[in-house]
Point group: C2
């Protein structure tokens, strides 16, 4: 059975302006790889209602799971929750369970749960809350879309809350052979190897180090014995 598929949607002007370098996609990719869910696509869109809705709808239909980051805070530019509700034509309002979490959080700190903070308790009907052990304000899962915060520490905590509930597949294993030769020197044996091992993904990643050309060859798949066989042949053919 093929692994479940996933897509990520990063939401935020700050990523597309270059001000902030996204780190959540790389984190999620690594976590999904471990549990055998294949991240097939990622998109970044700005804090734009139509863009968010269109991306959520397209990805939700195309993949088993969708993960979003960003835009669920208390300020005017945090519009993700209402866009998710709109994407699924679902009602959204402050929900008692989320409000109770925030009320307890701010009460304990002697702070006011003001109107802005209450925005973080707006949850679409039918959504399940995602636990946020870092800063309390919850994410949520609506249908196959998991809506999480953009702050990396919070995003990572929410991923840890969500992933145990998902059914994974075969973890993607990989081995890497690092050669201090250019890609063009090894392309022919690599191509033959890829043809002989159609169930493996064989990637070739060139780099330059101290002025010399090198290539990392990465063999990926779910069958460790098969990967071993491919790596053994590769090392014999192109050296180490």
């Amino acid at each position: 059975m093929p692994n479940p598929t996933a897509a990520m949607l990063v939401i935020g002007d700050e990523i597309l302006s270059g001000r902030t370098r996204d780190s959540n996609m790389n984190y999620l990719a690594g976590e999904l790889t471990k549990i055998g869910i294949d991240l097939k696509e990622a998109r970044v869109v700005s804090d734009d209602r139509e863009a968010i809705i269109a991306a959520v709808q397209a990805l939700s239909v195309a993949y088993d799971h969708v993960f979003t980051s960003g835009g669920i805070g208390p300020t005017h530019d945090d519009i993700t929750a209402e866009c998710i509700a709109a994407a699924f034509n679902t009602h959204i309002d402050v929900r008692d369970d989320a409000r109770a979490l925030l009320q307890a959080h701010y009460d304990a700190r002697g702070q006011e749960l003001n109107e802005a903070r209450l925005r973080m308790a707006r949850i679409p009907d039918g959504a399940a809350l995602i636990d946020n052990p870092v800063s309390t304000a919850p994410g949520f899962t609506l249908q196959n879309v998991n809506v999480m915060a953009g702050v990396p520490s919070v995003f990572q905590a929410m991923v840890a809350s969500v992933l145990p509930h998902l059914v994974g597949g075969a973890p993607l294993l990989s081995q890497t052979l690092c050669l201090m030769r250019g890609e063009g020197d090894v392309a022919t044996p690599l191509s033959a190897l890829a043809a002989d091992f159609p169930d493996l993904s064989i990637g070739s990643y060139p780099f330059q180090r101290d002025g010399a050309y090198g290539t990392n060859i990465v063999v990926r798949g779910t069958d460790g014995v098969m990967i071993d066989a491919a790596m053994t042949r590769l090392a014999a053919e192109v050296g180490t």
Copy 2:
């Protein structure tokens, strides 16, 4: 007149598996911001023919410029060039101008321009070459799609080759106010500010530092005087 728009397409299994953290998108975003081209969307897809073709076609229609990274090397998993040709229903083969560049490069190093390396001279009909001062193998521009390498040093050199040929708009300016207060404390004045300055984009980015909550407020726009006015009001209302 609104600024020209752009999208980026990052191509590569290694990004989606979490093995490699993409840095090209952040670099391109910063360079485009400087010359007034608005990066509106980014996508990451795997080394999959149908996925690449579909993304290129969708982005090419939706935005003024498209920039791709990855998949133009000599190995079997480098399929970007043929996918771009297919996306535009254009013929692709080894082209004399690109072959001459590679021949001179490998001749000078006493290396063979073998069949694998010759793959890097395959250029769609009608495309213009993009200069690669780092490692010679060229990128290309076909219609509004600029096809560039994934290795960051080469990607950056190709961006430097391409951008002077594009007509930009008004550079996006920004100022940041860093507050050691939570977002929820400043959301109401921020929202009023955003309503009073509809031509500015006002973003709010929370962080935690040494256990304390802070917020970076970023005001972006193309009119420096207007940004100054907004920042002055903001500082008066929420402190510094």
